[in-house]
């Protein structure tokens, strides 16, 4: 095993650093315009803005990971750094975000099927708390959960199953087939892990539509932040093994250098197992700082906050991993992959720690317009993290990370199979 192509690429870290600073500034500007609660558009209510960012990230992954840029040519996309093409794909991703949020969720599924995906349908249904503000927050919460399940499956499928079982098919057939498969799995995952929570957001609870949260007894909370934290902790290992470990250890199960069913199942089980282990470790660490949480506690005492925070920490690490890969040539690139993977992972964890400290620092109070403190029920770093991640992936996937690097033909900035 040797690390991927990065070691053969001449790389200027100063250029990477400058580009990173520019991207950071772009994210900051986007935050001030769209999210900052005291900025211009104030979408960070918080759930409404959260849902828009989550859907945008999912849209970017639909274009790049699920459809491999279909109907555009995947090969051309990965080798080129055309600004025009990048702009087209960015606009397409934003259009998808609007279409999915307002078209699919608010005005199709929410209007003709599951009412809670549409603020308007919730308001029409009447009852306690069913007015426009809470209705939009609740619908947004449902969308966030659904989209998180989709993102999880999209990345896990890409890493594990790859192109299986459609290796010989055309790009379009592969894309649509993967999209349908991932969507079915997303619906099942959402139904089991998140739907019970959403059904409890109303008074009286919608207990004919969804069971009471089945995890409440042992998780110490009925909140689906338990599921969200677990999903994000697992997703962290999908991303780390994809970007930092060059797809190993799952690639040991390759057949002819391609993904397959066994590798897919192993990736799913392995990443979930690692996710559970890392979540337990993070919860133990939080116990040291804040003592053990208890049922009914709030802020840092709340079990649901601890689960969410495990997911939030995972989000910081994922962001750091993408940045390391995109702007710092996946440093370091040593002679053996295990050592390289170890150091990259350590760097990602340190980077995640730096983002953590930034988000909860006085600097972010000034830059992001936050209220100082931790565990505010109306604030989650996942929104800023997902926005940052979306911009980085757009830059890497749609713009070929221009100008920080110009990949050679066939090289992929992020694996796609």
């Amino acid at each position: 095993m040797t690390p991927g192509s990065e070691k053969n690429t001449s790389y200027c870290f100063v250029s990477g650093l400058i580009t990173f600073v520019i991207i950071f500034s772009i994210v900051w500007a986007l935050w001030r315009v769209f999210m900052d609660a005291n900025g211009v558009l104030k979408f960070y209510t918080p759930m409404y803005g959260f849902s828009l960012v989550a859907v945008w990230l999912a849209s970017i992954l639909v274009i790049s990971k699920v459809f491999e840029f279909y109907p555009f040519s995947a090969a051309n996309m990965t080798g080129a750094a055309g600004i025009g093409r990048g702009l087209i794909l960015t606009v397409l991703s934003l259009f998808l975000m609007l279409f999915i949020t307002y078209g699919i969720f608010w005005n199709f599924i929410g209007k003709f099927g599951v009412a809670y995906f549409s603020p308007n349908s919730i308001v029409i249904s009447g009852g306690s708390g069913a007015e426009p503000f809470i209705a939009r927050e609740n619908a947004s919460t449902a969308i966030i959960y659904f989209v998180t399940a989709f993102i999880w499956w999209a990345l896990a499928w890409d890493l594990g199953f790859g192109l299986w079982p459609w290796q010989g098919a055309s790009q379009g057939v592969r894309g649509w087939s993967r999209f349908c498969s991932i969507s079915i799995l997303t619906v099942l995952t959402y139904a089991v892990l998140f739907h019970p929570h959403i059904c409890q957001l109303f008074y009286p609870p919608q207990d004919k539509a969804g069971v009471a949260p089945w995890w409440a007894e042992y998780a110490g909370t009925g909140s689906a932040f338990f599921s969200l934290g677990l999903a994000l902790c697992s997703l962290k290992w999908v991303v780390l093994s994809d970007l930092m470990w060059d797809g190993y250890p799952w690639r040991f199960l390759d057949r002819r250098g391609e993904g397959n069913f066994i590798r897919g199942v192993a990736t799913l089980i392995g990443s979930v197992a690692l996710g559970i282990i890392s979540m337990v470790i993070l919860l133990r660490i939080m116990n040291i700082f804040w003592m053990e949480p208890f049922e009914g506690g709030q802020y840092t005492d709340a079990p649901y906050f601890r689960y969410l925070h495990a997911g939030e920490i995972s989000g910081f690490i994922v962001l750091a991993a993408f940045i390391l890969k995109t702007y710092f040539n996946n440093f370091p690139n040593l002679s053996t992959l295990p050592l390289t993977a170890l150091f990259r992972t350590i760097v990602s964890f340190i980077g995640g720690g730096v983002f953590y400290m930034f988000y909860y620092s006085t600097l972010s109070v000034w830059l992001l317009g936050k209220v100082p403190g931790i565990a505010q029920p109306d604030d989650t770093p996942l929104v800023w993290t997902m926005l940052f991640l979306s911009v980085v992936i757009v830059h890497a996937q749609f713009f070929g990370a221009w100008p920080v690097r110009r990949p050679t033909s066939g090289e992929r900035l992020l694996r796609t199979g």
Partner: protein, 366 residues
């Protein structure tokens, strides 16, 4: 998660260190100094002067939605003045020797409403003038607890005031500088959102989480302590003062404005920090289903309150009517109110008439 091992974990609490700096919920200083004896009182009476901070929940939420959301600064929203009420309570402490001492908790929002409450629905105005109210505790800097400060200061500008040290310049301008604060609405018109023409001239005691002598609390009188919980709160506010009373032969009672840190976190703090801790009761807004919405985490709170063995729960304001209903049905000892609120000129749109709130005009004795 071994959540049932909470008591065991308390033993290790002295070793715990907080990375949150001034924002951690639990006081390590108090642990270092050992448990605190705050003394005892004979009893505590709370008169609900007004708990109707706003009268129509939907208008309140629409104001928030139209100008941002839960994280937007309260000073950036042109609130509907006709919807403003306020939160305030009069606390009467009977010491062990039988002497009574009075504390004013919060000063509401609308000056019109608070003048009506202080002058017509109670004798608070008269008590302030005569100096019968010893000091005021501001629970936190939210509009519905603080923007009616003029209604207090016009009767007693030099009143001693305990307030969270986590104020913003607008808060202090209102308190000390005759500020008239305006904000533009969507039509570009200036809207006056709050004012105070009677600056505070008395002693202001900014409260922080370290407390007096790094004990984590402020001892206000024997058996009465104040703890400032430095937590981030919606509408860009930070920190809340909570009152603790140790009632002889009964136990610890908390009195809160909104209880943003969480009711059980308050009792958890008391359990970790107060000598001979015994839970007894609580009064105040409990900040749960404040907009009459629900969430599975509120079910957690109902289970938690029962496990903490709190014997007497007096709630109102931001507790959420549906929380009080569900908690009462689940066996939480919610103290019922009366129909006195009907003697007030206005009452809340969420009031369903089944008295699960201690509402305007009611009292509770611990």
């Amino acid at each position: 998660m071994e959540r049932r091992n909470f008591l065991k974990s308390l033993a290790a609490a002295g070793m715990a260190a907080s990375v949150t700096g001034p924002t951690g919920l639990l006081s390590n200083e108090a642990h270092a100094a050992g448990k605190i004896n705050i003394g005892e009182v004979k009893n505590v009476k709370v008169d609900v002067l007004t708990e109707t901070s706003w009268f129509d929940n939907d208008i309140m939420k629409k104001n928030m939605m139209d100008y941002g959301g839960a994280m937007t600064s309260q000073y950036a929203i042109p609130w509907d003045p006709k919807n403003a009420g306020g939160y305030s309570a009069l606390i009467t402490v009977t010491a062990l020797d039988g002497k009574e001492r009075k504390i004013l908790l919060d000063s509401g929002w609308s000056n019109d409403w608070m003048d009506y409450v202080f002058q017509e629905k109670s004798n608070v105005a008269s008590m302030l003038k005569k100096g019968e109210i010893e000091f005021m505790v501001l629970s936190h800097w939210h509009l519905d607890h603080y923007w009616g400060i003029e209604s207090t200061l016009k009767h007693k500008p030099d009143i001693t005031m305990y307030a969270p040290a986590t104020f913003y310049p607008e808060d202090m301008a209102m308190l000390k500088e005759k500020a008239h604060l305006k904000v533009k609405d969507k039509a570009g018109q200036d809207v006056l959102i709050c004012k105070n023409d009677t600056p505070h001239t008395g002693k202001l005691i900014p409260c922080n989480q370290e407390g007096e002598d790094k004990t984590g609390i402020y001892k206000l009188m024997p058996g009465v302590a104040l703890r400032m919980f430095d937590v981030p709160i919606l509408l860009r506010v930070r920190g809340e003062n909570v009152l603790y009373f140790n009632v002889k032969d009964k136990g610890i009672v908390t009195v809160t404005g909104c209880c943003h840190p969480g009711l059980l976190s308050l009792f958890s703090f008391a359990r970790s920090n107060f000598d001979q801790y015994k839970p007894y009761g609580c009064y105040g807004g409990l900040h749960i289903s404040l907009f009459e919405q629900w969430d599975p985490k509120f079910d957690d709170i109902i289970k938690g309150v029962k496990s903490f063995n709190i014997a007497k729960v007096g709630c109102n304001h931001c507790t959420g009517w549906i929380f009080a209903e569900k908690a009462s049905a689940a066996g939480v000892p919610i103290v019922k109110g009366t129909d006195k609120f009907k003697t007030y000129s206005r009452y809340s749109s969420v009031n369903k008439g089944n008295n699960v709130f201690l509402t305007n005009g009611d009292s509770i004795i611990f």
